[in-house]
């Protein structure tokens, strides 16, 4: 009555096979959706792609009446507003994450984490309204103050003090992506083994030096957090739309109104009547997709390099330590 035991990897009963099939189907559905989006966008955008070619990306004129379409001001606005957001949000988000994972007493940790995550759940139109009615007046008075100091001769601070513009958009975006940076990098810090901290402290490191060890260990994960947050800032529409002033110009000033790719699509698509206008908007969508893909690819490369370097360093340390 000795039944031979099946080798575990060779178990192929009907349920397993079905399950594998379903999972494969799910995977394919995701691929198919991405592909369909691409195909559909391409189809709608084709008249514009054929007419303007690569000029579309370097022209600055956006005139729906004369059907002259150039996307450069929108690309510029998207990149600059998201960069401002990243510059503001990354230090803040990392600080929050570090505090929560390394320093906060337990009774404080849970409520603060909860609040940070709550920020991520607020709809973007609420951020937009808050930005318009609370943040913009604050930024306007800041701009007025700068105007009085005479700093407005510097191109970065020139222009009329509307309050609306690139800076407001960057700040609203920064607040929106802080939770992403904070939540992801907190998990990264938590994943750093305690042995690393203990080793650093045992070697006589100060708190600050031990923190650097933790930070170093988590570097690939932090790069991931930043890229995730950046992706969100690139695609954010409503909140930006409400505070950026929606003027397709390229200006060196932080106070100048600007426009973004996501914002112009949301603004003009509903009432776009002429086929070429619709096509040009779809091409902006295509360009935004391309930009996001480029960013993810760059991030992948960066993560790989950082990982390889830190692995190399660990190996080297392993050799030299007695």
């Amino acid at each position: 009555m000795n039944q031979p035991l099946h080798h575990p990897t060779r178990v192929v009963n009907r349920g397993d096979r079905l399950f594998r099939g379903i999972l494969r189907l799910f995977g394919l559905v995701v691929l198919a959706i991405a592909l369909l989006i691409l195909v559909e966008l391409w189809e709608v955008a084709r008249p514009s792609v054929e007419r303007f070619g690569l000029r579309f990306l370097i022209e600055t004129q956006w005139d729906p009446v004369r059907e002259q379409f150039g996307a450069l001001p929108f690309v510029y606005g998207t990149l600059v507003s998201s960069l401002i957001a990243i510059l503001l949000a990354v230090p803040l988000g990392l600080g929050v994450a570090f505090f929560l994972s390394e320093m906060a007493p337990r009774w404080l940790r849970e409520p603060v984490s909860f609040l940070v995550e709550l920020l991520a759940a607020i709809p973007s139109v609420v951020y937009g309204l808050w930005g318009l009615f609370v943040l913009v007046p604050i930024i306007r008075s800041l701009e007025l103050a700068i105007l009085r100091t005479g700093l407005s001769r510097v191109p970065l601070f020139s222009g009329a003090p509307y309050g609306i513009g690139m800076l407001s958009a960057g700040v609203v975006l920064a607040i929106m992506i802080v939770p992403t940076v904070a939540a992801v990098s907190r998990e990264v810090f938590r994943a750093v083994p305690d042995s690393q901290r203990e080793a650093a402290l045992a070697l006589g490191a100060t708190r600050w030096e031990a923190m650097k060890v933790v930070f170093d260990y988590g570097r690939p994960g932090i790069v991931g957090a930043v890229v995730l947050a950046w992706g969100r800032a690139l695609g954010e529409t409503m909140a930006v739309n409400m505070v950026i002033g929606n003027q397709p110009i390229i200006s060196a000033s932080l106070f100048s109104p600007a426009h973004t790719m996501a914002s112009v699509i949301a603004s003009e698509f509903n009432e776009a009547v002429e086929p070429m206008h619709v096509a040009a908007l779809a091409e902006i969508g295509l360009a935004l997709l391309g930009l996001t893909l480029l960013l993810s690819a760059l991030a992948r490369l960066l993560v790989l390099r950082v990982e390889r370097r830190s692995r190399g360093r660990q190996a080297a340390q392993g050799v030299t330590s007695p």
Binding site: F133, Y162, S267, E268, N270, E271, V273
Partner: protein, 348 residues
């Protein structure tokens, strides 16, 4: 109060929509989509219309004029809504003749935020277009002072505000500026989205109203309902006859008191009527002249007839101006021309 009543209406509508009893087997569904500008009125109309004609249910999706036109041309809706008439090419591309049936007239108020200055700042078409072209940049400009000798205009820079989203409101406003200023027509032109020489873009009427209220020295344009509901100050514009007119409902209705073509596919900005307000426009329902389904077609013409008559009385309540008699007569003739297999559907 008005807003409250409207909200109560919407809640009631939502409650009714959830009641399974409300939808019987014989209910005829008419589906429409398009302009957002008349949406508050249309939702009131179609709710009231259910008590007039209980077996007809009209759905209207406010997806924008552009979407309304596309859906009508594709034949996916029973009627469309638009604030901008179809172009000749678009009409030619339709598989069946499309009628433009006007429903109400909307006017656009030029609003401003000037400390110490109330409603009634006088503006001429030349000055308004110069402001939007970026040629007049200060409130104490000599041309503004000459028009308003009694007002103490502050020495503030003018912050020009306009819509950032494509909209029928922008179309009417830029059509007006093109009609009165050759320079505007040449440099900018008209449309639902244009390339603005100057100005901050606000999202929707609410966004423009918000910016104007916040920035001292701002000027903008919004549908009259927004100006009234937000208690904003607005300008009296000089019309063709030379009178300065405020955008009252009467003055708006008078804007259509002009020789209009039979197909009513016309802009009524810069009206010749001596008491008409110059920045006004029709909003239309787009309907196929030959209806594929006799039952639906019949329900549709009945609904249109009702909107042109009883429906007009509801318009002022929501700050839309009713159609003047000359326009109603032309629209009646158009409804009478709607057919199924060549047979008129309207029985009167």
């Amino acid at each position: 109060m008005k807003v409250l009543r409207w909200m109560a209406g919407m809640v009631l509508a939502a409650a009714l929509a959830w009641t399974p009893l409300a939808v019987s087997a014989q209910t005829i569904q008419l589906n429409g989509a398009g302009a957002t500008f008349p949406y508050p009125l249309y939702s009131l109309w179609f709710e009231v219309y259910r008590s007039v004609s209980p077996d007809v249910q009209v759905n209207y999706q406010a997806i924008g004029s552009g979407g309304g036109i596309r859906q009508v041309l594709a034949g996916t809706v029973d009627f469309g809504g638009t604030d901008a008439p179809l172009s000749d090419e678009q009409l030619a591309s339709a598989s069946v003749p499309i009628l433009h049936i006007p429903t109400v007239i909307g006017s656009i108020a030029v609003v401003y935020n000037l400390p110490g200055v109330g409603t009634g700042l006088k503006l001429t078409p030349e000055v308004l277009s110069a402001i939007y072209l970026g040629e007049i940049t200060q409130w104490d400009d000599a041309r503004l002072k000459a028009l308003n000798p009694d007002l103490r205009l502050p020495s503030l820079p003018i912050a020009v505000v306009r819509r950032s989203d494509g909209s029928g409101t922008t179309n009417i406003f830029t059509t007006y500026l093109s009609a009165v200023s050759p320079q505007w027509a040449e440099r900018v032109g008209s449309g639902t989205s244009v390339s603005w020489p100057v100005g901050l873009g606000g999202q929707g009427n609410a966004g423009v109203a918000g910016l104007v209220r916040q920035i001292p020295g701002a000027i903008g344009y919004v549908e009259i309902a927004y100006a009234l509901q937000n208690q904003m100050t607005y300008a009296a514009l000089q019309n063709q006859a030379g009178n300065f007119v405020l955008p009252s409902l009467e003055a708006t209705s008078l804007a259509a008191n002009a020789p209009v073509p039979e197909d009513l596919r016309v802009s009524i900005v810069n009206t010749p009527d001596p008491h008409g307000y110059p920045i006004a426009g029709f909003t239309w329902l787009l309907v196929a002249q030959e209806q594929p389904d006799p039952v639906k077609g019949k329900a549709l013409v009945e609904m249109l007839w009702w909107a042109l008559h009883e429906g007009q009385a509801l318009a002022p309540e929501l700050d839309y101006a009713p159609l003047p008699p000359n326009v109603v007569a032309l629209a009646e003739a158009m409804i009478a021309s709607i057919t199924h297999q060549g047979q008129p559907l309207l029985e009167r």
